[in-house]
């Protein structure tokens, strides 16, 4: 591996991270808040180290797949390490590990928090927390690519490694233009969310924070009861709609902009996504009816909210899930695995993989009945070749394996099973919501440092979809050439 070029990319990303910290710093200055200096020091350190690394002279600039994967994995670790500085320096977290957990939870759009009382945080901190989540949703390197196209001709590998889901497509020939289009769609949709939230009666700053939480499908809030705090049916339904929209593949929005609605409506993953959300909502709606005294409106709203919140891995909640019947809880647990569409800001396995897995099972059955039959899996009339199918199977195994490794380490805490399992799944799938201690009213502060580090790693592994991070562990990755 050509370490110099990796460091160079990390430097570029760190430099942009320091730029991303400035809005929070400005808010702190306007607010005259105590954490002003914390942001200033953090920006100084991050920018200095970023600029030093950025100006490393490399002999060779070709970015191979291994350098790209290593850069992405290391970048995410490094931005979390530096992004934690404001929390740590200002002293609002007890330890650096807590700060790191909170930052990683932000960038990976998990939205798990260690703050037991979020309402006491200063606005600048709340903004930084939610901003990491918004940037992390579409990708830090994609952000860098949109602004600094100098990452090299082969930066497609970077996008491939950071992108959520299967094979990222180019929307237009130039990769940096593709990144710009993605961020333009993302920003516009976020802006619309903010406007609708303000119309729904949220104060402007609250609307921004919650819009970031919805857009990044992360679910950081500034209120203990999140959206439920505003006690508005309109806001809750609006959140359901927006969460659903941010769970859709962003390239479909580009196709809509090109006025090709037909292709979008025919998209298999989108249809599956819609069907899954509607079916789960109906089932949970029936199951929780007695809990809400047979009030159709309340039950439907709560069911729809929790289903979209979990499927899109946002993790907002407007009710205490621990009170819900077991059937609903299990169904939500299943949805925690799947996530939503590829190419969206959601976490989890992504529905397209689930579809491919189902189709391979069907193919296997078909081949048992007709041993000589030739069949390939097709998605949207495009053949998925054997390599594609194999990579999904390998991904599925790795996902389950890492889930259980996380589960085993977390069980050292000796909490109940629901808490431990949902904590492991919640970090790996970037949801940030669970049952028991980490239910809607709880937080992750009870966990030990070891568990927090484990969950931090699980969040990053889950966000980068395993391979880039795991590849770092391979010694041959680090060999010089």
């Amino acid at each position: 591996m050509n370490l110099k070029i990796v460091l160079k990319i990390i430097g570029t990303v760190l430099f942009w991270e320091s730029v991303l910290m400035t809005p929070s710093f400005i808010i702190a200055v306007i607010d005259n808040s105590f954490d002003r200096n914390a942001f200033l020091i953090a920006i100084g350190i991050t920018a200095t180290i970023g600029l030093i690394l950025k100006n490393i002279k490399a002999k060779e600039y070709t970015l191979r797949k291994r350098e790209a994967f290593a850069s992405v994995a290391l970048c995410w670790l490094v931005i979390s390490l530096f992004g934690a500085l404001p929390y740590y320096i200002s002293g609002i977290t007890n330890s650096y590990i807590d700060a790191l957990f909170e930052t990683a939870s932000g960038f990976t759009t998990t939205g798990a928090t260690i703050f037991s009382n979020v309402e006491s945080l200063p606005p600048s901190m709340l903004f930084w927390r939610s901003f990491t989540l918004w940037i992390g949703g579409m990708g830090v390197l994609v952000f860098t690519m949109a602004l600094a196209p100098s990452l090299g001709a082969r930066s497609i590998f970077l996008m491939e490694a950071e992108h959520a889901g299967l094979s990222p497509g180019r929307l237009v020939p130039k990769l940096s233009d593709t990144a710009k289009i993605l961020y333009a769609i993302y920003s516009t949709m976020t802006l619309i969310t903010i406007i609708i939230f303000v119309i729904g009666g949220m104060p402007f700053f609250d609307a921004v924070i919650h819009a970031f939480g919805t857009a990044g499908t992360g679910g950081f809030s500034m209120k203990t009861y999140s959206i439920g705090h505003y006690n508005s049916v309109f806001l809750e339904w609006a959140t359901v709609v927006f969460m659903f929209m941010f769970g859709i593949n962003f390239s479909l929005y580009y196709i809509i902009l090109k006025k090709d609605i037909k292709t979008v409506l025919r998209n298999e993953e989108l249809r599956f996504y819609g069907g899954l959300v509607i079916a789960s909502t109906v089932l949970i709606f029936i199951n929780i009816l007695p809990l809400y005294n047979y009030s159709l409106g309340d039950s439907l709203r709560n069911a729809a909210f929790q289903v979209t919140s979990v499927t899109t891995t946002t993790g907002f909640s407007i009710t205490d899930l621990n009170m819900w019947p077991m059937f609903s809880k299990s169904l939500l647990l299943l949805l925690m695995f799947t996530g939503a569409c590829t190419g969206s800001t959601t976490g989890g396995m992504k529905l397209i993989r689930i579809i491919i897995l189902f189709k391979s099972v069907l193919k296997e059955i078909k081949q048992t009945i007709h041993p000589g039959s030739i069949s390939k899996i097709k998605i949207d009339h495009k053949t998925i070749d054997n390599d594609g199918e194999r990579s999904v199977l390998i991904f599925f195994f790795s996902y389950i394996f890492i889930l259980f490794v996380t589960l085993v380490i977390l069980s050292l805490e000796n909490f109940d099973f629901m808490t431990t399992f949902s904590a492991a799944l919640s970090s790996l799938s970037n949801i940030g919501l669970g049952y028991g201690l980490i239910g809607p009213m709880g937080n992750f502060s009870e966990f030990s440092h070891l568990s927090k580090i484990t969950m931090t790693m699980a969040m990053i592994i889950g966000r980068l979809e395993i391979l880039p991070v795991i590849a770092l562990l391979s010694p041959s990755m680090w060999h010089k050439q």
Binding site: R154, I156, R170, V172, P173, K174
Partner: protein, 452 residues
Amino acid sequence: MKIIIVGAGKVGYTLAQELSMENHHITLIDHDAEVLNYANETLDLMCIKGNGASVEILKNTDIDETDLLLAVTSSDELNMICCVIGKKLGAKYTVARVRNTDYSNEFKMLQEELELDMVINPEMDAATEIARMIKFPSATNVETFANNLVEMVEFRVLDSDPIINIKLMELNKKLPEKVLFCAVRRDNNVYIPKGNFEFHQDDLVYVAGERGSILRFFKYLGRHPHKAKNITIIGGSRIAVYLTWILQELDIKVKIIEQDKDRCYLLNDILNDTLIIHGDGTDQEVLDNENIASADAIVSLTDRDEENLITSLYAHQCGIPKVILKINRQNYFPIITKLGLDSIVSPKFITANNILRLVRALDNSKGIAVEKLYRILDNEAEIAEFTAKKIPHLTDIQLQDLKMKKDVLIAAILRDKKIIIPNGNDLIKEKDKVIVVTKAGHITDLNEILTD
């Protein structure tokens, strides 16, 4: 510019590579997923799998906003259909590669009837290039600039040349007429020579000047142009046919050695007054039998790089004054030049270069200032021609006072149809044509030669 390239073969890929580096928006269409995958990973462009002549595929590429459609698949007919459909769907400029000799006399008609804006024929271009090399035997490469007033000639320094081991500033005083040494290649490094540079034996040198000055310069070197009369071609490919046509017009006798008997008969049908020999061109017996040592030049044009190389080495050893060979693979170039063979022709590169020239010309009408651009010495250095606009810190300032980038050289200035080979006291005025040599990377505007 938005460019669609149909066909990701040798030429298609090279074009995509060069054009994407120059910041154009490229879409590459091919039906082979493997080559597309390679292109997608190594270049910044969009790949689409499918038939480039299919309306549905072309519509997928926003063809109505496309500035240029290049059809370079291996099939002439597909290329033509592709351009016709592309034009109907709104592509502004279409270029088709047509290489079959049967069509070669019908280009004009094809262009008019099919509304092709340009037809490229790599074999014909290669043949033209070879013919030029034969006309100037002492030079390995010749480029012309500024309405053909300036010539830039590549030659290899021999141990008998009187320019060896003398500092460039001393040499400039001794030369009969002013010429400018633009670029030198020595052991895989490219230099832009400065005053204290000394030439060594085997350096590959680019020298610029007026045609007359260049001729007298070669006379000074003791190399008298010697008109070629007998040419032997090994391999009866399409290039050989085109080349024979061109050479016969110059009254040069051509002998073709071809291995395949059927091909020999075919050649005999197409070509008149040409001696066709059936035999293996790599076989020394055959070559000696044909007494190739008496030929004025030998051109190896078989389909295999290795065979061309072997034949050429043997010919070089026999002392034939001019040895020209066709090489397809770019990575062989440095090895071959090391062996002393300088006159290499690569149809792929000639085609790519011609199309790049066209793209730059089209771009020019959109505001980019390069008028002509050549890559020399295996793409290590670039010669570009600009028309100067009024630029502060550049125009009307003596060259010695300009803050120019390292490795940038002003090779010639054309003012009122007069060539100035500049020294430090000259200056660039508005509307001058300026020829710049650089190894500092691609420049798209004249003011980029200044330090930032």
